[in-house]
């Protein structure tokens, strides 16, 4: 086992041992491993009952009814199903979509594909603090706008959008709202009813559930039509065919139930650790926070370090598992498009660390990480030529 301090919980989290336990109950020959669609026999009915309990757990976390949950293989599939499904179903009503420049690729790439299929997409530019205002959204709506897609919590910088305000705007204007809540669900309260969210993308693995488990929460009343992405056995009311992976669904349910119960305590503890980390780093000249200072999820801290080259900083911190750009994409030397949209130069975007904390992050780890980051900033600056960056006041 490694001694690396794991601070990449925004990329993925370890599965909570309580979730592992629930998953294990659905795997081996003695467990509830059966096909939940095989309700003609008892093992199938037991698996089905577990899947339906998980549906209640996931729905419960976001204020939805169980019947609104469509299981998917993750938020990428949920985002794709929401965007392609709604756009293709409603294309006769209009072909304009509104989103933002700082969405996850699981939203942006389907938007680009929809552009190829004849849709028009407006990409809103957030303010320098990462926030897209409801007024900006309202101003972008057109008579042929059918869908707005705005994320809840940004995966790179952790800022939280005011999806409730955007939801009210969209509802008034009769436009569907899709929210990618991959990073926020289970960490901050969400309520699809109160916030007028028509489509909500969820994933298990950002909140100590299994990777490969997700859901799209779909408005039921009035019924919202979607064209499926995957056709076959007709599972999930025909919206998403494919054998339901009992252990994955059950793991997601357990992870969401735990998140619901422990959200406040986790948020306080993790937020406290993040503040501590930030206080230490903020004392280093030339270190800046990315994104709004207070409208943020507890676990994500994005800092830009002037006067230090990003790849060398990461290399030097090999004892920390941290991210630079979006860790969801395959490693690439491209500067983060999110930080660019916020106005960071290419150089500064590349000299950015995303430190993301989770339920298993300890104070000792955070203190170690803070010390190591300060050390390496100092070391790299010491070997750099003078006059790089603007950090030496």
């Amino acid at each position: 086992m490694s001694a690396v301090v794991y601070l990449d919980n925004a990329a993925t989290t370890p599965v909570d041992p309580r979730v592992v336990e629930a998953m294990l109950e659905c795997l081996g020959p003695a467990g509830d491993f059966a096909n939940p669609s095989a309700t003609g026999h008892e093992p199938g009915r037991r698996a089905r009952a577990r899947v339906e309990r998980a549906r209640e757990e996931v729905a419960g976390l976001v204020g939805a009814a169980p019947g609104q949950i469509v299981w998917t293989s993750g938020a990428t599939e949920a985002d794709n199903l929401a965007l392609f499904g709604a756009a293709r179903f409603h294309r006769s009503r209009g072909r304009h979509i509104v989103t933002s420049k700082t969405e996850h690729p699981a939203v942006l790439d389907p938007c680009r594909q929809l552009e190829r299929e004849g849709f028009e997409v407006t990409y809103l530019k957030p303010a320098a603090d990462g926030i897209v205002s409801a007024e900006q959204v309202a101003a972008a709506l057109r008579p042929d706008t059918i869908l707005v897609s705005l994320m809840h919590v940004n995966n790179e910088i952790g800022v939280v959008q005011d999806v409730a305000a955007v939801g009210r705007t969209c509802r008034q204007r009769g436009v569907l709202l899709h929210v990618d809540a991959a990073q926020g669900a289970g960490k901050l309260p969400l309520d699809v009813e109160r916030d007028c969210i028509d489509l909500l993308s969820l994933t298990a693995h950002k909140v100590h559930g299994p990777k490969g488990g997700g859901a799209l929460c779909v408005r039921r009343e009035p019924r919202l039509g979607l064209v499926p992405l995957q056709f076959g056995g007709g599972q999930e009311r025909g919206l998403r065919s494919g054998t339901l992976p009992t252990h994955q669904v059950v793991g997601m349910g357990r992870a969401y139930a735990i998140a619901a119960a422990e959200m406040q305590a986790d948020a306080e503890r993790i937020g406290g650790l993040r503040d501590r980390l930030w206080q230490t780093l903020a004392a280093v000249p030339g270190v800046e926070l990315n994104g709004h200072p207070t409208r943020r999820v507890p676990g994500i801290l994005s800092v830009t370090v002037d006067g230090v080259e990003g790849e060398s900083l990461l290399f030097s911190l090999a004892d920390l598992a941290v991210a630079s750009g979006s860790a969801c994409a395959t490693t690439s030397a491209e500067p983060s498009y999110v930080l660019r949209a916020l106005g960071r130069s290419d150089r500064l975007a590349q000299s950015t660390l995303r430190l993301s904390l989770g339920r298993f992050t300890t104070l000792a780890e955070v203190e170690y990480a803070a010390r190591r980051i300060c050390e390496e900033i100092e070391r790299l600056r010491a070997i750099a030529p003078e006059g790089i960056g603007a950090w030496r006041r």
């Binding site: 001694a3 301090v5 230090v308 080259e309 004892d319 030397a333 130069s345 070997i383 750099a384 030529p385």
Partner: protein
């Protein structure tokens, strides 16, 4: 907290030099010291090289670098590599030698060119005429 497995994008020598940066710093100032610079922070690579010259040959080298691990490692490696070199050696030095010796991937070749520029700059700044014995 050690025992980290190695990142194989970086060869062993690159890892050692990027971590320990042997040769980083300045040569004590003096008329026998030549400096070469190149690079651009916006493009992610800036280097300055200093060599102390004696008998028309480099007797000591130091570097400062801002850049990726391969770039820092190559600058460090150069301070050793060019010891004993005369001005024409610096003028002729080719970045490919660093690429080969350190196993630098093609995506980083541009940065080694920056290093070559700095070596050429040092050659231009060589004290006195070619062959002068400072």
């Amino acid at each position: 907290m050690a025992a980290v497995s190695d990142d194989l994008r970086y060869g062993a020598e690159v890892r050692r030099r990027a971590r320990e940066a042997p040769g980083a710093g300045e040569v004590p100032a003096g008329p026998d010291v030549v400096t070469g610079r190149a690079g651009n922070a916006e493009q992610g690579a800036v280097v300055s090289l200093q060599f102390r010259i004696s008998g028309g040959r480099v007797v000591e080298g130091r570097f400062r670098a801002f850049g990726c691990p391969h770039f820092i490692a190559a600058a460090s490696w150069l301070t050793d590599r060019l010891r004993g070199s005369a001005r024409p050696d610096l003028e002729a030095w080719d970045w490919r030698e660093a690429a080969d010796s350190l196993g630098v991937p093609p995506a980083k070749f541009g940065r080694l060119l920056t290093l070559q520029d700095a070596v050429r700059d040092a050659a231009r700044n060589w004290p006195g005429a070619a062959g002068s014995t400072v």
